[in-house]
Symmetry: C2
Subunit: 237 residues, 2 copies
Amino acid sequence: MIDWIAFDADDTLWKNEEYYIAGRNRFLEILQKYGLDTADIENYDQFEVGNIQYFGYGVMSFVLSMIEIGIEITEERIHPSDIQKLIQLAKEMLSQEVEVFEGVSLLLERLSAKFPLMLITKGDLLHQQRKFAASGLAQYFRAIEVVSDKSSAVYEGILNRYNIDPARFLMVGNSLRSDILPILELGGWAVHLADHPTWSHEDDPANQLDQEHYLEVEGISQVWDKMVEADLFSKQV
Amino acid sequence: MIDWIAFDADDTLWKNEEYYIAGRNRFLEILQKYGLDTADIENYDQFEVGNIQYFGYGVMSFVLSMIEIGIEITEERIHPSDIQKLIQLAKEMLSQEVEVFEGVSLLLERLSAKFPLMLITKGDLLHQQRKFAASGLAQYFRAIEVVSDKSSAVYEGILNRYNIDPARFLMVGNSLRSDILPILELGGWAVHLADHPTWSHEDDPANQLDQEHYLEVEGISQVWDKMVEADLFSKQV
């Protein structure tokens, strides 16, 4: 029933959101020196989202937004050495070791014996490619697609290019907005990792789920059994 | 003799280096307020090249490097409002209108009637995709590949994926280092746009050119005739 399985990468296969939270905490520590606290920066979330149109998703976008917010919120009192600390943070985040979640390798090994696997990931091209190479997981994937956005139009373009019937395509990911809803919209199958950490911007009211093609699991270790249960292996086994 | 023709984008199909030069001039104007001039920042070029490993190629990398250099060279005297100006510059560069060189549309129209065309471009994924969409040239291309680097290994990966014989592949571009030498190394054909502006980092001693597969033209308007002259249309005409 399934020809291809695609996986999201950040927060699906390996840790990601955690580093952003740690980065944001470093930023808050800096701001505390200027008498500012969490409540003061809360209204600046929209700043970051507004910058996506220019900088896209990823570490550089995140850090450029923090620099802007830092300048704005301190009314230009922020010291250049603190801005340098944010750039240093960007470099650290971009060279951060890749921590693959437990159970991922085993799942990919088993699935890749039955299906061609594709990675579909969003963010800085260089960073995503480097994480892919460093993850040790590249051997399991037939293809990698780094995209600047995960809209249903973008997925449709990929499916067309690979000549994949959406009804025979399954995507596994942690973000309802980016990994699940666009796939269901196209008539594909989606497995949602409900317990993985997700950036708040990636949350989405899950009100229009196509229940028939939607599978929900608590973690990566349940994906295999869930697929068996949904009879998705029928033609392969 | 040729199955696919690929084009570089920045400084081959549309203006690019010019905006970087203008951006650098804006940076120099800022630095003048701190009593610094061109000679002072000359030694900092390596800063920018050293940052490519983290930030890759593109506007965000360029601006993050300028912010770092600005902080370093002013010994942390640079005012946050000037750093904000650099971030604003990044946003302007990223939303800059695409100015396609004269003669490009005509060439692509004629070539796309005979060959499948591919765009192979390096830099920020979102920015490159947006420029491609805004250029009005997308209709001529069968494929677009945004890459984080243009090494012969990267080109080889693309050729393998599309199942293209290197000896039947031709690449057109302005950069010897990025567009020409790696292709010649793989046994492909390359047309060098010798008069297009090129970032100094992209220069390369052209000492190992495979003369048989190397064509040089002064500008985009000469590409067609040069290909005819080299008998590359023989099977198609």
